[in-house]
Subunit: 322 residues, 2 copies
C-alpha cells in the first residue's frame, strides 16, 4: 500500500460503518482520532475493533506487531474539537435522517479548521442539501462506502454544488492512498450508482422467484457461480467487452436488438408483501443451514479480502508473446 | 471432484462453447467423443484445446500427466452415429437459429440410442419447440452454460413440456458430478435467468453512463470493486440476508419502501445507437490500455478459476465457538 496522502484523520460516528472506517485508516497508517457523541457507541466500536484485530491475528491474516501498530494509531476523544485537532480529513458516519446530518455538519463545520475535508458516509443524501448554508460548504462531499469499507474498496464520491473541485481531487487521492477505490459521480441521483444497480438486479431476481420461474437458491446460484464470478473482476462494460472477439462494439451491435427485447420483458417493481418477504426468508434459511449470521459475515469478509488480494497480485497484463 | 455419474459422453458442435465442454468432460474423467459436421471446426477446436492444455501446464495449473490423461480421453469422430455410440449424455452446441437447432435434433434423435440424454447449449430457445415431433422428445432438455463452461460452473437446466422428470434429475446429477452447478428452471422465459439478470444490470449501467452521472470506468468500478465482490460469493438474496442483523426478512421489511422508490426511478431501455456503442467502446478501450483481448480472456479465466477454488476450499461453516 502507498503512503496515505493525509496522515491525520478523524472518524466521527462509530456505528457499523464508522468502526470499519477506523480499520481502513489505521491499516493505512493514519493517526486516527475517533469521536462519537454517544460514549456507549464508541465503547462498542472499540470492542469490535479489538475482536476483529484479534480474529485477524489468530487467523494469520495480520501479525501481532501489525495489530499493535494499528492499535497505537487510534485515539478516542470525548470532545469533537479535540477529535478534529490537526486532522486533514474527517469521515462522518452519523445516522441518515437529513435533520441529523444537517445538525452534525453544522457542528463539524464550526469545529473543524477551514482546511479539513469533511466526507460523509451517507448512502442516500445530497451534499448540496446537507451543507446548505454552512460557512465552508466547499470542503464537504459525500464519500459513500460499501459495508464494510475495510473489506470492500469502492467509495462513491459525490460533490455537492458548492464543493470545491480541488477538495474532490484531494479526497479521491486520499481515499485511493488508503487502499479504497474512489468512484466519481458527476451529480446526484437517488441511490447513487451502487444502490441503483443493486436495485436493478434485485428487482429481476425477485421477479423470477415471484413468478415461479425458479427458486431463491437457483436464482442466487446463477449469480454466485455464474455472473458474479465475472463481476468480481470486471463491470458490465468490461464483461461485454470480453463477450465478442470485436469487443463491446461488436457485442452490442450484434446483440443490441436482443437486449432491447429482453430489457422490455423484465419484471415490474415488486410490492414487498409480507408473503414475498417470508418466501425469501425461507429460501435464505435453507441456503444457510446451520451456519450462523456471524459466521457468514466472517466468511464473506475473509473471502472478499482474499479475492481483492488475488486481483491486486494478478492485474491483467500484456503478454509479451501475444 | 466426484466420479462422473455418466462415463461416456459426446460433444456435438465444437465452436467456442462446444470446445469448452470438451474440457469440462475430459477434466472430470469422461470418455469424450467429439463431432462437428464441419471438419475444419473440429480441427480448430482441437488446436485450441491443445493450446489451452499447454498453457495450463506451463502456468503450473495442471501437471503434464493430467494434460496427457485428458488428451487420452478425447476422440474425434467424423460420423455422428459413431460419435454417439455407447454414450449416456450428449451436449449439443450447434448455431442458435431455430431451423438449425430443429434439424440437428432430428438428426440426434435418430442417431442416439433411446437412453441417451440430449442437452442443448442454447441460450435462448425453448426445448418444447426444438423437440416438437421428435420420437424421443422426453430425453431432450436445455443445459445452457455460461461462456466458457470449463471456467464458469453455472448451467441453466430447462426441461421442455415433453421432458421426462427422471431425465432432468439424471442430467442435473451428471452435470454436478462433472463439477458444474446445474440450476433448475421451472418453465421457459426469454433470456432464462442469467441473461435476464444480466440485462437488468446492463440497462441501469448504460442509463448511468448515458445520462452523464458517471463514466464507463466509474460504473464498472462500482461492480468490480464493490457489488461484484459479494456477488462472487452470494446472490442477491444471500447478500440481502447479510445486510441486516435480522437477515433478509428484516432487510426488506425495513428497506422495502426505499427499494420500491429506487426501482421505480431506474432508467429505461436504451436504444443502442451507434453513438452510445462508440462511447462504451472508448470507455472499455481506456480501461484496457495495452492489454490485448487474448490476454484479458486468459486473465479472466485464470482468476475466475482461482476464485472458484478459493470458494471450494473455504465453504461457509459453522464456527464451533459462535
Amino acid at each position: 500500500m502507498t503512503e496515505p496522502t493525509i496522515k491525520d484523520v478523524a472518524v466521527v460516528g462509530t456505528g457499523v460503518i464508522g468502526r470499519s472506517w477506523i480499520q481502513v485508516f489505521a491499516r493505512a497508517g493514519c493517526r486516527t482520532r475517533v469521536y462519537d457523541r454517544d460514549p456507549a457507541q464508541v465503547e462498542k466500536a472499540m470492542a469490535w475493533l479489538e475482536a476483529d484485530l484479534e480474529y485477524c491475528r489468530a487467523a494469520g491474516l495480520i501479525s501481532a506487531d501489525e495489530a499493535a501498530r494499528r492499535r497505537s494509531l487510534i485515539t478516542v476523544h470525548d470532545d469533537l474539537n479535540l477529535a478534529l485537532e490537526g486532522v486533514g480529513y474527517a469521515q462522518e458516519s452519523a445516522p441518515e435522517p437529513m435533520e441529523i446530518k444537517r445538525a452534525v455538519y453544522e457542528e463539524l463545520d464550526r469545529a473543524a479548521d477551514a482546511a479539513v475535508i469533511l466526507g460523509s458516509s451517507t448512502s442516500a443524501l445530497d451534499m448540496t442539501e446537507i451543507a446548505e448554508g454552512l460557512t465552508r460548504a466547499d470542503r464537504c462531499l459525500v464519500a459513500h462506502p460499501v459495508n464494510p469499507p475495510h473489506v470492500i474498496p469502492v467509495v462513491e464520491v459525490l460533490p455537492g454544488k458548492q464543493t470545491d473541485a480541488e477538495v474532490v481531487r484531494r479526497a479521491c487521492e486520499f481515499l485511493a492512498s488508503v487502499g479504497q477505490t474512489p468512484v466519481l459521480m458527476n451529480f446526484y441521483v437517488p441511490g447513487f450508482l451502487l444502490n441503483r444497480m443493486q436495485a436493478a438486479l434485485v428487482r429481476e431476481a425477485i421477479h423470477l422467484v415471484e413468478s415461479g420461474v425458479a427458486d431463491v437458491n437457483a436464482v442466487d446460484a446463477v449469480i454466485r457461480d455464474g455472473l458474479g464470478l465475472r463481476w468480481a473482476l470486471m463491470g458490465p462494460f468490461g464483461v461485454a467487452n470480453t463477450n465478442a472477439d470485436g469487443g463491446v462494439r461488436e457485442y452490442f451491435t450484434r446483440y443490441g436488438q436482443a437486449y432491447i427485447e429482453l430489457m422490455n420483458d423484465l419484471g415490474p417493481t415488486p410490492r414487498f408483501s409480507p408473503e414475498l418477504i417470508e418466501r425469501m426468508g425461507q429460501g435464505t434459511d435453507a441456503m444457510l443451514g446451520d451456519v450462523t449470521h456471524a459466521d457468514l459475515l466472517r466468511w464473506r469478509d475473509r473471502l472478499v479480502m482474499k479475492i481483492c488480494e488475488l486481483k491486486k497480485e494478478n492485474p491483467p497484463t500484456k503478454n509479451k508473446n501475444s
